[in-house]
């Protein structure tokens, strides 16, 4: 028709580029940390303790964001901390996604006893207090990277399973599924070729959200000292240390906090941005 609907273009996603940009910087920083960090993140020098960031009086050259009470360089520690944060985000996010989305897809599409089994299991699982559960888990198997990832998967797989199940159920009722059956496609084929591509945008949004959550959970666990060994720099650990001296050296608390905030925000915006950009139905 000659009305104006076709001429409206979707705004190119500023939030997609901003969030993807920040995360790209972070990934580069994590990969190249040994070569680009100005100082050794573990090197202590009590004479250089609590140096302010570069623009304040009393700053030392080379310590751009100041030092903590043990004289360790804050910028270097943030860069090294990005390594752990990103590993946890990617690994824990992906495993949670695969497990939860897989079960949700099966339950929502196959229905019947598979659905009953998976749904009841989800209900029972969600009745456990998850944070307590994961703290208990780490207390039993001991702190470490694997334990953090396991804890996140255990807490959050149900979120994927429930959302994806509902979405798969809605898509399963559409005529294109009936149409594929008329064409003679089997159940597995329908699930993977017809349903999955339509549930994928939802999964992507959930996945990026989950990566953000994983970063926060890792920070929380570090904050309460249940993360990996306390020597390795983590954002949560830095925040915990910074809190003790916030009146004397605010920068030890504030810079890791800002980094954490921007990272989590970027993950959630990345998901929404990707959905806007690459969904052929919305486009």
């Amino acid at each position: 028709m000659l009305d104006g609907r076709g001429s409206v273009k979707r705004r190119a996603g500023a939030r997609l580029w901003l969030s993807a940009g920040w995360l790209a910087v972070l990934v580069l920083a994590a990969l190249l940390a040994p070569w680009i960090t100005p100082k050794d993140p573990l090197a202590q020098d009590l004479f250089l303790g609590r140096l302010p960031p570069f623009w304040e009086t009393g700053a030392e050259p080379g310590y751009y964001l100041g030092t903590d009470s043990l004289g360790r360089d804050v910028l270097s520690r943030i860069l090294y901390g990005a390594r752990l944060a990103l590993i946890v985000a990617l690994v824990a996010g992906s495993i949670t996604c695969l497990l939860g989305a897989g079960l949700g897809l099966l339950a929502g599409f196959l229905r019947g006893w598979v659905d009953v089994l998976i749904s009841r299991f989800i209900d029972i699982w969600m009745a456990f207090p998850p944070v307590l559960f994961s703290i208990l888990l780490i207390a039993v198997i001991g702190p470490g990277l694997g334990s953090i990832i396991l804890a996140i998967v255990i807490i959050d797989w149900t979120r994927f399973a429930r959302v994806v199940r509902a979405e798969a159920m809605a898509q399963g009722a559409m005529d294109y599924v009936a149409s594929a059956r008329v064409a003679g496609r089997g159940r597995l084929g329908i699930m993977l070729r017809e349903i999955l591509p339509n549930v994928l945008p939802t999964i992507v949004v959930l996945l990026t959200l989950e990566m953000g959550i994983a970063v926060i959970v890792e920070a929380i666990l570090s904050f309460v000292n249940l993360s990996i060994s306390t020597d390795d720099p983590t954002w949560g650990g830095m925040i915990a240390e910074g809190r003790a001296a916030v009146y004397q050296a605010w920068w030890v608390l504030v810079f890791p906090l800002i980094t954490l905030f921007l990272t989590v925000l970027s993950f959630s915006q990345l998901g929404e941005g990707l959905k806007d950009r690459f969904d052929p139905v919305l486009r």
Binding site: M1, L2, D3, G4, R5, G6, S7, V8
Partner: protein
């Protein structure tokens, strides 16, 4: 003296192309005017513009909507809403979504009377019972206490009609009011709308894509293509001899069960090309002032 006069109304999508192109039409008191056209022709848009419920993504760029001698578009928003609320009503297309599923029928009819016209609740309820009886709903008392899901589609459409007439509006916009209904129910509902409209002397703007429905309900009609009124005429004249090639093509493409094997003639490409040229010419006129 016409009750509603739309004068060279243009609406466009914000940041996009035109949806209505200098639409002019009038509806006299007690007249039924049909708005016909294919999907995307802008027929619903006209009703929405009159009722002040255009989507936020659209804007009125020019023209006047004169209701009872007052140009609505020059009024401050609050005053415009008050005036429309007191004199106009809508019969919506989908009886399933037009009623709030979690509220009983009674209050959904009386709310308007109490909130907008300031009637006492007792009087509003008496009026609602009276109206439900008028649209042939058996046992109005029980229906007023019912929830929408307990009633059939035809019943719900009757309730929406009763509700539209509740405040004695001077103008009603009916937006495809029978499209979602079975043909046998459609007949009852159309007859009811017509009967109510005649008894109350209401002006009616009747949006539909069905020329059969137009021939039963309307006295005059406007045929739209791409937001442009290509023909404005009396219904009798239209069916005797359509005044525009596009209208004639539309009529020829409408199947009739009384024609044995008459082959359907789709709207010819030449007619589409001609009417598109008219649209383009209208756009040039608009851009030159």
């Amino acid at each position: 003296m016409s009750y509603l006069e739309i004068d060279r109304l243009s609406v466009r999508l914000r940041g996009g192309g035109p949806l209505l192109r200098q639409v002019s039409l009038t509806v006299a008191a007690g007249e039924v005017r049909g708005l016909v056209g294919e999907s995307g022709a802008g027929k619903s848009m006209i009703g929405k513009a009159v009722l002040g419920i255009l989507p936020r993504s659209t804007e009125i760029t020019a023209g006047r909507i004169v209701l009872d001698g007052v140009d609505l578009l020059t009024l401050p928003p609050a005053e415009r809403r008050r005036r429309i609320g007191a004199t106009c009503a809508l019969i919506p297309q989908d009886p399933l979504t037009a009623l709030n599923p979690s509220r009983r029928i009674g209050p959904q009819i009386t709310d308007r009377l109490v909130d907008i016209l300031g009637w006492p609740r007792v009087r509003a309820e008496a009026r609602a019972r009276e109206l439900l009886a008028e649209v042939y709903i058996p046992d109005p008392e029980r229906v007023m206490r019912s929830y929408p899901h307990e009633l059939s589609g035809g019943m719900r459409q009757r309730i929406l009609i009763a509700s539209a007439f509740a405040a004695e509006p001077k103008l009603i916009v009916a937006d495809e009011p029978t499209t979602a209904l079975d043909v046998t129910v459609q007949k009852q509902i159309l007859k009811l709308i017509k009967e109510m409209q005649e008894r109350h002397g209401t002006a009616l703007l009747f949006v539909t894509h069905d020329l059969g429905v137009v021939s039963k309900v309307c006295q005059s009609l406007s045929v739209l293509y791409a937001g442009l009124v290509v023909e404005d005429c009396a219904v009798r004249d239209f069916f005797r001899a359509p005044g525009h090639a596009y209208s004639a093509a539309l009529l020829a493409a409408t199947p009739k069960y009384t024609d044995a094997v008459a082959s359907l003639t789709p709207v010819p490409d030449t007619v589409i090309a001609a009417v598109r040229a008219e649209v383009a010419a209208a756009d040039r006129r608009m851009s030159h002032g």
